[in-house]
Symmetry: C2
Subunit: 190 residues, 2 copies
C-alpha cells in the first residue's frame, strides 16, 4: 500500500485549487479524495468535516489576500495606495475566483476574529491615513471602501458588466478616481 501523504495542509491547498477550477461550492470531500486517488473516508483523519475544509480554505484565501495587500501598500499613500489595494482585491478575485468566493464564506465570530480578515481591515484603515478624515468618518469610509471593492468584484465576476459598453476596466478606473475625490472631499455632517 503506497501512502498518498495526506496532510491537512496539502488537502486545504488542493481544495483551494479545486475551488478555482470548479467553484467554491463544488468543493467536496469526494472530489478532493478523487484528486488524491484516495478513498473519501481517509480525509476524515485530517479534516473534521466538510465545513471544516471550507473554513480552512477561507482562512487560506484571507491570508493570501492580506499578504498581497500588505505588499502592495508598502511605500504607497493617498490615491496611489487606494488604487494599489483595490487592484489587489480585483486581481485576486479574477485570478482565483474560487478562493475569492471562499474568502466570503461566513466564519464563526471567534474564527473571523483570529483570521487575516482583521489584517485586511487594518490595511483598509491605513489607506485612509492619506486622507483627512476624523473618527467616526474614518469608519464609515472603511465600510464604504469594503462595500465598493467587494460589491464591484462580486458583480463583475458574476458577469454583470461584461456585455455592455464601456468595458469594466474603464469603469473601475473611473470609480477609483471618484472614490479618491470623495475621500478628499468627504461631506460634513449636515
Amino acid at each position: 500500500m503506497v501512502r498518498a501523504g495526506l496532510t491537512t495542509d496539502r488537502l486545504v491547498r488542493a481544495g483551494a485549487e479545486l475551488a478555482d477550477e470548479v467553484g467554491f461550492d463544488q468543493v467536496t470531500a469526494s472530489a478532493l479524495a478523487r484528486r488524491f486517488d484516495v478513498k473519501v473516508a481517509s480525509l476524515y483523519s485530517h479534516l473534521r468535516n466538510s465545513e471544516d475544509l471550507k473554513t480552512r480554505i477561507a482562512l487560506l484565501a484571507l491570508e493570501e489576500l492580506a499578504d498581497r495587500a500588505a505588499e502592495a501598500l508598502a511605500g504607497r499613500s493617498g490615491k496611489d495606495a487606494l488604487g494599489a489595494f483595490a487592484n489587489v482585491y480585483r486581481d485576486y478575485a479574477r485570478a482565483h475566483p474560487g478562493r475569492y468566493a471562499a474568502a466570503r464564506h461566513p466564519l464563526a465570530p471567534e474564527t473571523a476574529a483570529a483570521s487575516a480578515g482583521v489584517r485586511i481591515a487594518q490595511l483598509t484603515r491605513a489607506i485612509l491615513r492619506g486622507y483627512d478624515l476624523s473618527e467616526p468618518d474614518q469608519t464609515h469610509a472603511v465600510r464604504l471602501l469594503g462595500s465598493v471593492f467587494h460589491g464591484y468584484v462580486s458583480l463583475e465576476t458574476a458577469g454583470g458588466f461584461s456585455h455592455s459598453a464601456p468595458d469594466s476596466q474603464e469603469s473601475w478606473t473611473r470609480i477609483l478616481d471618484a472614490l479618491d475625490s470623495l475621500l478628499r472631499n468627504w461631506p460634513d455632517h449636515p
Copy 2:
C-alpha cells in the same frame, strides 16, 4: 389519496419562504417536499430539477425587488430617490435574506436578460437623472451604486458591521450622504 395541489408557482413561493428561513443554499427539493407532505419525486412534474427551482426563486426575488424599487422611486428625485432606492435594497435583504441571496444567484445570460434585473438596472439609471452626469459617466455611476448597495448589504448581512461602533445604520446614512455628494461633484476625467 388527497392531492396536495402542487403547482410550480406554489412550489416557488414556498421555496422562497424556505430560503428566508433556512438560507438559500439549504433550499432542496427534499425539504420542499417535506413541507408539502409529499414525496420528492412528485415535485419533478412541476420543476425540471433543483437548479430550475433556484432559478425560479431568483426570478421571483428580482421581481419583488424591482416592484418595491419602482414604487419607492415614484415621485422622488435626487437624493430623495437615491435614499429611497438604497433603503429598498437594504430593507429587502434584511427582511428576506434568503430571497436576497437568491437574487444574487447566477443566471444564464438569456434568463438574466429576460428577468426583472434589467428593470432594476433601469431604475438605478433613473436615479441619476437627478444628477448632472453625461454618458459614459452615468454608466460608471450606475456600476458604482450597484456595487455599494450590493456590497454593503452583503457585508452587513454577513455580520461584518455588527460588532463594532458606530452602528451600521449610522454608517449607512453617512454613506448615502457621501454618495449624494459624490454624484453632485463627479470628478472630470483628468
